[in-house]
Symmetry: C2
Subunit: 446 residues, 2 copies
């Protein structure tokens, strides 16, 4: 077998066999096939695509390139959720303890903020002492005890993905649906999940800007999961405005706590602290996870069970237990709740009375990058206590001078950089605005 | 400027500017841009193509990557010919002295055999003592004295082409018309040609198998030449059967001598030693070169002048003069003429009487590779005195047992390897065969 012949085969729109894909990927990982042949192959895949079976082979070969989590001895099945990334998307922080509280264990492997989108690991690490760098043994222990555990991708899990992603990033081959699919699925299945629920975000604040793009990725994830014999559900959800009220690291931990608990210590929540959009997405994803985990026979039943576990604070107790097990201090958390804010703040107000027509999630996300919520480059630092509190959501009625959002910045310069983006992000118009659905479509291979 | 952005731009089917192309190519040559980004860009070019202007910029940037021949002081204009490669294609050996004899100087840069096609340098070097490795000064001297000089590509001429070609070869990006165009034109213009005639071969023995492919390349060569302000003519010629009667290195020198001279020493030529197809292509290309060189005002006039210079042996004398100047010994040449053959020989005969319907040039060329006429890999050695003598051409009437071709091999194994290919190459049928044109089309920017 010669790498160049496989590049030509793909370039000529033919389908590669499992052995051929394994030859390329394993040769790339072990250094016997040079980067310039792999990058040519990646560009050929960009133009010619891959069949579902091919994408399945690629995913499987990538999984086999490194350590596969061994969760034997812990009662499964294990169900995880993955979001394609959005602004204000703190769903994982609420969902994992909620599903665990319903009796389905969640081994969750999350990512970091990049570009305008936030990262679950960065949010969790804004909790004093909380660590997401768990050994395999510790991960198993936390999963057994709290019913869920949160970690990042370790170097020995799917090394092929790290190498391929780094190469795709510098060769213009990131935006390929089969390559994105294999990257996501390989990581998720290598961590030991038996079934997966995807939150495929769609809109200005997502990577997939249009419904057609989001649906293409969702179908690829579900059908490739099928080719691998795994159950996969993809929920397409709107990402035109930020999800919930908070965009920041600790700010989003706060909003998650508010959703899980309802009130913390002596402070009571504001009336709409549980954002309708955030709760609807979270409960829907939880319900699907409960169906995949064999706990409920329908999504409706799943929603009902999840609602109970939220209301009786079982989910909240799981969260506190997990925070303790992963090194966080609940007392510090409670003390900081609604108190920990970066020093420079500014509130943007409505120039006229009217209705909020649009809150551009991309612009809010980019303002977050300026503030230090997210990163421009993978090795940038993030700040815990900066961000944006959104006081009104799309469709809300506002009076002249009413607060639209408050910015919390570490310094005057960051504030000045973020301000114009946020001023542009909000659009207030004279008339009422039609509500849009948050759940756009659901695709599954069940 | 970042290489990845230029890869994405091309991937998105946009047109790169001259500065952008220069950034990529110069960065590749100086090592500041890695191979994996260039190979991704090459694959993007494979799928998205390049505009004529872009191809012109690429050609020009490649020319500027190295030494440009300085032919000042020698009376021009200089016209060269390039063939896209065929089987039995010894046209350059006849054409260069012929055009020089007509008064148009020819600085000719040629290539080596690769795959099933032969190479002019390998043929010339089968002449005892003949060297194609000329210094710039020596090249100028030979060109001045004999009116033409024959050399190969030196390391300091268009280094970008050697680097790019080596990368294309291992990344499945050879078959791209704009990349082929820039590769050919950059080398030809860097050697100092003012105008070019292309022999674009078309058929089983050529790289371009169909008329449409050949026409696409011809148009690209002519139009890119136009974008560079250079006059270019492309002659599409048939390459279904081998050109002429000989396929081999010294065998083709012999056939060239026969065409230039008519007889050598005491031996007289066989009646059809000047193959009609070989002479028609050679005279047509010569005529165009005479038009481009300002010597004749029409192709018809060019054909007439070239015919005269062939008949009065001026072209032959130029050839002998050049052989002497480039280190060859005409006495050895004459002694070996029709005498120097590899030791193992075998003649294939017709099993039935009939007409030669087809002689598959590709199979003859591949048989040549087995014999040592050509190469599988660029660093293989070739042999001077092996090859195939074709006794009958397409359309000829043959009796049962008549000789179709004779194989000359250095050893029994090579003979046995070549034999089945040659047996398959000839097809004899019962009825007369319609003659096909050798010149298929002519495209020019004059």
């Amino acid at each position: 077998m010669r790498a160049v012949d496989l590049v030509v085969k793909k370039r000529n729109k033919e389908v590669l066999s499992r052995d051929e894909i394994a030859y390329l990927i394993n040769g790339y990982v072990d250094g016997s096939i040079p980067e310039y042949q792999i990058s040519a192959w990646l560009m050929a895949v960009f133009f010619c695509g891959m069949s579902r079976e091919e994408t399945g082979h690629l995913t499987d070969v990538m999984i086999q390139s490194g350590t596969v989590f061994d969760l034997s001895g812990i009662a499964g099945p294990f169900v995880d959720k993955h979001s394609t990334g959005g602004v204000g998307d703190k769903v994982s922080l609420i969902l994992a303890p909620l599903v665990a509280a319903c009796g389905v264990p969640v081994p969750m492997m999350s990512g970091r903020a990049l570009g305008h989108t936030g990262g679950t690991l960065d949010k969790l690490e804004s909790i004093e002492g909380y660590t997401t760098a768990l050994s395999m043994d510790r991960f198993r222990d936390v999963l057994s005890e709290a019913g869920y555990a949160m970690t990042g991708q370790s170097a020995d899990v799917v090394p092929a993905d790290r190498l391929l992603y780094a190469l795709r990033d510098v060769t213009g081959t990131v935006e390929s649906v089969p390559l994105i699919t294999a990257s996501i699925l390989s990581k998720k299945f290598a961590e030991g999940s038996d079934a997966l629920v995807f939150d495929v975000k769609c809109g200005s604040g997502a990577f997939m800007k249009t419904n057609a793009q989001a649906r293409e990725l969702a179908e690829s994830l579900v059908e490739t999961g099928d080719a691998l014999g795994k159950r996969v559900v993809a929920v397409l959800s709107a990402m035109e405005q930020p999800l919930g009220h908070m965009v920041g690291n600790f700010l989003e931990v706060e909003e998650s706590i508010a959703c899980l608990h309802g009130s913390v210590g002596s402070r009571s929540l504001q009336p709409d602290a549980r954002s309708a959009d955030l709760m609807e997405v979270t409960l829907r994803l939880a319900a699907w996870m409960l169906v995949l985990g064999g706990k409920c026979s329908s999504v409706e039943q799943g929603c009902e069970l999840a609602g109970q576990k939220l209301d009786d604070r079982s989910a909240w107790r799981r969260f506190v237990h997990n925070v303790e097990l992963q090194g966080g201090d609940p007392a510090v958390l409670e003390r900081r709740y609604q108190n920990w804010r970066a020093p420079e703040s500014h509130t943007i107000t409505a120039a006229d009375a009217g209705y909020v027509e649009h809150i551009d999630a991309y612009k809010v996300g980019m303002a977050g990058v300026y503030l230090g919520v997210g990163r421009n480059k993978a090795d940038d630092d993030v700040l815990p206590h900066v961000g944006i509190e959104i006081h009104t959501k799309r469709g809300s009625r506002v009076g002249c001078g009413d607060a639209l959002c408050t910015i919390y910045a570490a310094g005057e310069q960051a504030l000045q950089n973020a301000l114009p983006l946020l001023e542009q992000a909000f659009r207030v118009g004279p008339g009422p605005v039609q509500q849009l659905p948050i759940i756009l479509q659901e695709i599954s291979n069940l």
